[in-house]
């Protein structure tokens, strides 16, 4: 609560009285994809740090969902926990506590999947975020961004991520990336191109977990 809010509230009270209110949604919706495939499943502890940060940062009315990235991720079954926080602060805190417990229980015994379907998770995430009707929509991909699909799964088609921010977090370097860094760069560039082609509002990569404030920062 800042002083400028108090000063801004004076004319806003007049606006409210005349019915000139801002009808746009000011809530945030965050969909976090946690890669649990192969060796990346060991990074689940870091994912919990990010989830805790999100729980501390998101406000009343905001939505949060955490889903696993598995061999095929375009499914509601992959959503570990989801919640739209109550507008009452007391209820909001209780919801956040329950959310944290659920995440802790889910990540206690994570079994690594054989394949990594990031695209399916993105489509599922976009669907969830669009349903929330939030003003700001963000998909956080906690993964090495190495997509591996089985032969049956079809994901090579254009996807729609209109108005959604996509943030790739903790994109670790693979052994092959260490041999040839161009692979790592190329992988990130390919994802950026795909996401931007899909109409995403922003693409961002955050590898330093001390700068998590950039996850929800706009622009």
């Amino acid at each position: 609560m800042k002083r400028r809010h108090f000063l801004a509230a004076l004319p806003a009270a007049v606006l409210a009285a005349t019915g000139c209110v801002d009808s746009r949604s000011h809530t945030n919706a965050v969909y976090m994809l946690v890669d649990t495939s192969g060796t990346y499943a060991q990074e689940a502890g870091k994912a919990q740090v990010i989830i805790n940060y999100l729980l501390g940062s998101l406000q009343a009315g905001d939505s949060l969902a955490v889903a696993r990235v598995q061999s095929r991720s375009f499914s509601e079954k992959d959503i570990v926990a989801k919640a739209t926080f109550d507008s009452r602060p007391s209820q909001e805190n209780a919801q956040k506590r329950a959310f944290r417990e659920r995440i802790e229980n889910s990540f206690r015994a994570v079994s690594g999947s054989r394949f990594t379907d990031i695209t399916g998770g993105l489509i599922q995430g976009a669907e969830f975020l669009n349903e929330t009707g939030a003003g700001s929509k963000t998909i956080i991909i906690f993964s090495d961004m190495q997509e591996e699909l089985d032969k049956v799964t079809q994901r090579d088609f254009p996807i729609t991520l209109k108005g959604i921010r996509v943030v790739a977090v903790n994109v670790v370097k693979l052994k092959t990336d260490n041999i040839d860094p161009r692979k790592y760069m190329g992988r990130l560039e390919a994802w950026q191109k795909r996401v931007e082609t899909a109409g995403a509002r922003e693409w961002r990569v955050i590898n330093n977990l001390d700068r998590l404030d950039a996850i929800l920062a706009r622009g």
């Binding site: 609560m1 801002d22 000011h26 501390g56 009343a60 009452r88």
Partner: protein, 482 residues
């Protein structure tokens, strides 16, 4: 287009420039009269409206000044009139309280004085004169004994008788004086009572005199205002400015209080109206709701002070009959107390919400929560609740400086408008003069450019006038000879 296109002789700049200058000069000389007229007209066209606007602004300023004066004097008259009325009321109370027992006091004083007088008269009684035979005794005492034993014996007898009578008389006399002294001694309490009563009367009179002097001073101001003197107007204006500045300062302090109040209830209000609704991009409905509550409290305070007749912003409330006004007073006070109670509860809820949020954040972070001392941590909670209860009542008094700001704002605003109008008038006048002078300067400058043909014209005119004057002289001479 080439930069040398204007040159008559492209290879010779000087000659080309000279030819062009001569041509321009010739053209400008030919167009001199209309150009002078044009420049003069432009000057008039610019300066005329500006001067007219300046005159209009000055007239408007005079009108505003007259209005300001009328309003100021009327307001001052009303204020001083009320003050005089209050002084008279106070005087009436003093007279009633201090001098209503004056007749009784006077009667008491008169009684005491009468008694003192009577006692004094009693004291004034002289001892009885010595008997007349004392003269006979004196005559006998002058008798020459001549050694006669009989005469001596008679005289001794007379002496003994007189001595015994003298002793008796002296004793009577002393007794009489003793009695008078006792009477005089009994005077003392009466004297003291009279003295005390007179001192009291003197004090009452002095107090009355001081109050009368205050009334006289107010009446003198009232008379000055009534006469509409410049001194009274100046004094009222200065008073208006002082009042405005003081009230504004108090309003700023009150705004600080309102801000603290806002901080106390904004967060818990989200528990009531929800934290997810926004009015603008960053302004929540809960924050506006908190502000509305503060405004309602201030309004209730305003109505309370209006009902108490401390402020007079709403004449309708002031004109209500006493029964309705008292009812309104109680309603406003009740609502204010309820709102203060709500605020105290909200302040407590704020503390609880913040504690809960802190606990959640600590559980989300890796840092272990710090243990707090029980009673120490309850001090801020109690303080917040107390502030939440007190601030609405403190805010209620904002009505007094608000009224003062509104009333003195007219005076201050009027003075500023007057200054603005006069400044604008001055500016318009300056601009008008500048435009007129500029047209004159341009006319002179125009003549400077065509100075050569003008000199030629002057010389030609000079020789022609000489010739004509010479011809005139010749004609005169011929006429003289003729």
């Amino acid at each position: 287009m080439s930069s040398q296109a204007w040159m008559v002789w492209p290879e010779n700049f000087a000659v080309s420039f000279l030819v062009m200058a001569l041509l321009a000069m010739a053209f400008m000389y030919a167009a001199r009269a209309p150009m002078h007229g044009l420049l003069r007209s432009v000057g008039h066209a610019l300066s005329g409206p500006l001067r007219m606007a300046a005159r209009w602004l000055l007239a408007a300023a005079a009108e505003v000044q007259a209005r300001n004066r009328a309003v100021l004097l009327a307001h001052g008259k009303h204020e001083v009139g009320q003050r005089v009325e209050r002084e008279f009321e106070r005087l009436g109370v003093i007279v009633q309280r201090e001098l209503q027992g004056y007749p009784a006091l006077q009667r008491k004083l008169l009684d005491e004085i009468t008694r003192i007088e009577e006692d004094y008269k009693k004291c004034g009684e002289v001892p009885p004169p010595p008997p007349e035979w004392t003269e006979a005794v004196a005559a006998v005492a002058n008798v020459k004994t001549g050694g006669n034993e009989l005469v001596l014996r008679v005289l001794e007898e007379i002496k003994r008788s007189i001595t015994s009578i003298h002793d008796k008389t002296l004793a009577d006399y002393r007794r009489s004086y003793e009695r008078r002294h006792k009477i005089l001694e009994s005077f003392m309490p009466f004297w003291r009572s009279v003295d005390k009563n007179l001192v009291q009367v003197e004090q009452n009179m002095a107090r009355l005199q001081a109050n009368v002097r205050t009334v006289d001073a107010h009446m003198a101001i009232y008379e000055q205002i009534n006469e509409g003197t410049d001194k009274a107007q100046h004094a009222l204006t200065v008073s208006g400015f002082t009042q405005f500045a003081t009230s504004l300062l108090v309003m700023c302090v009150a705004a600080g209080g309102a801000f603290i109040n806002f901080k106390l209830i904004a967060l818990p209000m989200s528990e009531m109206v929800g934290a997810g609704d926004y009015i603008t991009h960053s302004l929540r409905t809960s924050e506006v709701a908190a502000l509305v509550i503060i405004f309602v409290e201030a309004s209730m305070g305003l109505f309370l002070l209006e009902a108490l007749r401390i402020t007079h912003l709403f004449p309708r409330i002031a004109n209500l009959n006493d029964r309705l006004r008292t009812r309104m007073l109680w309603i406003a006070l009740t609502l204010l107390v309820i709102l203060a109670g709500v605020e105290a509860a909200l302040a407590l809820m704020r503390d609880m919400l913040i504690s809960d949020k802190q606990a959640l954040l600590q559980s989300l972070s890796t840092v272990q929560p710090v243990a707090h001392d029980g009673w120490m941590s309850s001090i801020p909670t109690a303080g917040q609740m107390l502030l939440g209860f007190i601030l609405p009542f403190a805010l209620a008094f904002i009505a007094i400086p608000l009224e003062s700001v509104i009333h003195s704002g007219r005076t201050v605003g009027g003075v500023f408008v007057l200054a603005l109008l006069r400044s604008l008038a001055f500016l318009m006048r300056v601009l008008g003069n500048v435009a007129r002078q500029m047209s004159r300067v341009l006319i002179k400058l125009y003549d400077v450019f065509i100075v050569v043909p003008l000199m030629a014209e002057r010389m030609w005119k000079g020789s022609r006038s000489e010739r004509s004057s010479k011809l005139d002289v010749d004609v005169d001479l011929e006429r003289t000879h003729a």
